[in-house]
Symmetry: C2
Subunit: 199 residues, 2 copies
């Protein structure tokens, strides 16, 4: 039974959760051990996971799709905004930006930066992995614009970069000499208020 | 005649600009060719520059100091704020963030990210290289706070991360789907104004 990129799993075949987890774990282990995305072969992932290559290809059409799911697993499920306050929802969504509980993430994430820079395929893995989280943030910003809490003429994508940029840069590289405690709260409050005295 | 870390050049010895440039160029070439900071040996830099190791050590006490100067050369001199408008000065200072005319920079900069993450020495190279630019931005923010254009209670280091974070992330990785034209202007204006409707 063949599959294609749009339908990676054949509907009659129940997903084998244990094999999925072993494959994703193997991919993450290999990345954490210093293998680049380029160097990472499906064969090596299969060997490490103790499955055949065909088992992987039945579940994922290609390496990009597998790595996107593996990185999404590493990040865990996106947070759920409570929906009461725009400010609190933005803080909730910024909470996991650049932050991971899985110790493999601190080895994998910074090493991916040069790869993302070199390769449009790696860039796409990240963008696809992050898209559901971004959509949640877009929804909160649109809600705030509709309710009159936020400026009605916001550039939504720019606003997302204002919110995530400082948190990601700081957590990834500790770039500025700032207290990283409560960083999402402090970034959200500063961006909401602005730094200028308004006339 | 010996030198130490604080006084890398002996005062009686005129600086040989041509040798300095050749050494800095050699270091940047080797980094751009994919050598890591760890792998980069003073001996290899000397060979490439056509000078002896002693010539390098007369000018720089160690590899960190040499690389800090090499990266500063790559970035070029910091921009000079005109001093008329806080907004325009911030735009001027953000202009070169994550942006380089030297084609070697696009090969070197992203590759340094994982190195910065792994090594406190590499982190220090970057921090020392950026410090004069940061001081310029601190001065502009303090001027704005004193003049009443900016909020008097600003967290200056946090504000710097709000300004540079989005620009650096976008120029380094094209992270968000935003128009990168006039990005410093748009980031500065958005951070000055804030995104909330003020009561």
């Amino acid at each position: 039974m063949t599959t294609d990129a749009g339908v990676p799993r054949s509907p009659g075949r129940p997903r084998s959760t244990r094999a999925d987890e072993a494959i994703v774990d193997a991919a993450l282990d290999l990345l954490a051990e210093g293998n680049t995305v380029d160097a990472l072969a499906i064969e090596a992932i299969a060997t490490r996971a103790g499955v055949g290559k065909a088992t992987i290809y039945r579940r994922w059409p290609n390496k990009v799709a597998l790595l996107r799911d593996a990185l999404a697993t590493l990040k865990g499920p996106p947070p759920v905004p409570a929906g009461h306050s725009i400010r609190d929802d933005l803080v909730t969504l910024l909470g996991p930006v650049g932050s991971h509980e899985d110790p493999r993430a601190t080895r994998i994430m910074p090493c991916l930066v040069p790869e993302i820079h070199r390769s449009s395929e790696h860039y796409r893995i990240y963008q696809e992995m992050l898209e559901p989280r971004r959509q949640l943030m877009r929804d909160v910003l649109r809600r705030g614009m509709a309710s009159g809490e936020l400026r009605a003429d916001l550039d939504i994508e720019l606003t997302m970069s204002l919110l995530t940029g400082p948190v990601l840069l700081q957590r990834l590289l500790h770039w500025h000499r700032i207290d990283e405690h409560d960083l999402p709260e402090r970034v959200v409050d500063a961006i909401l208020a602005g730094i200028a005295i308004r006339p």
